[in-house]
Symmetry: C2
Subunit: 115 residues, 2 copies
DNA sequence: AGAATAGCTTTTTATTGCAAAGTACTTTTT
DNA sequence: AAAAAGTACTTTGCAATAAAAAGCTATTCT
C-alpha cells in the first residue's frame, strides 16, 4: 500500500496545469479589466470551441468570471480573474517554480551523458 | 480558421508536462545510473500501476530506457534517461521557465484586486 | 434572397490518468 | 507440503477531458 506521501508535484493542480489554460490564466493575470473572447482567442492561439470549453472549466472552478454583454448589436464575452482565482493561480505558480528549480538542479548536476 | 500561431505554451509537451511524469523525469535527471522501479515509486509517491504506465509512455517516446534484470532471484527494472530524453527535457524546462516568468510578471503587474 | 462572416456553444471523438485486478514468482508460516 | 503472504511488476477498465467537429444565431455583403 503506497501511502500518499507529500510530493510537491501534487500541488500542480490540473485546472491550471493544462497548457492552454495556463496561457489563458497568464493572459488574464495581466489584464485587470479582463479580456474579450476574441482577444483571448488570438493571444492563446485557440479555436473558438476550445477557448469556450476551457473558459467554462475555469468558470466552473470559480477561477474566472465571465460576463456577457452586447456592444451595439454584437455579443461580447469578457473574462476576468476572480480574486480567488488569482490567489490560487499564484499558489500554483509558486509550486511550479519549486518543481522547475528542482528539475533544473537535477539535470544540471549530471554530465550530458557518457558511454 | 485559427492559424497555428507560435505561442510558447505549445512547447509544453504533454509527455513531460503531466505532473507525475515531470516527477519521474526530475528524479531520473538527477540519477545518472538510473533509478529502480521501487525507488521511483517511493520518490514520486506513485502506485505500481501508475508508475508502470508512465514509464511505458516515456519509453515509447524514447525519453527513458528501461532495463530488466535479475538480482539474485528477484526481478529488477531500472530506468535511465536517454540522451535524447535528457535533451528534450531540458528544452521543456526552458519553455516552462519562460512561461512561468511571463505568468509571474503578469500577475505581479496587477494590483491584488479592487472594487 | 442567399452566401459568407462573426461570435459563440454544444456534441462527438479520442486520449489518458488512475485505480484495481491480475500475473508470476519467492518467501514465510502452519 | 500446502497455504498464505509478500514482491515486483503489468494489464484492464473506467471516468475525466482536451481537441475537433458541428451547431446555433445574428449580421453583413452581393
Amino acid at each position: 500500500m503506497t501511502s500518499k506521501k507529500q510530493v510537491p508535484y501534487a500541488a500542480l493542480k490540473r485546472i491550471f496545469h493544462e497548457p492552454n489554460r495556463l496561457a489563458i490564466m497568464s493572459a488574464l493575470a495581466g489584464a485587470s479589466k479582463g479580456c474579450s473572447f476574441t482577444d483571448l482567442r488570438g493571444a492563446c492561439a485557440l479555436t473558438d470551441g476550445n477557448l469556450s470549453r476551457h473558459l467554462k472549466v475555469l468558470e466552473e472552478e470559480k477561477a474566472v468570471h465571465i460576463e456577457k454583454a452586447f456592444v451595439g448589436v454584437k455579443p461580447r464575452t469578457t473574462a476576468t480573474l476572480t480574486d480567488d482565482g488569482r490567489q490560487r493561480f499564484m499558489v500554483y505558480l509558486q509550486a511550479l517554480e519549486e518543481v522547475l528549480q528542482a528539475a533544473t538542479r537535477a539535470i544540471q548536476s549530471e554530465p550530458p551523458a557518457t558511454a
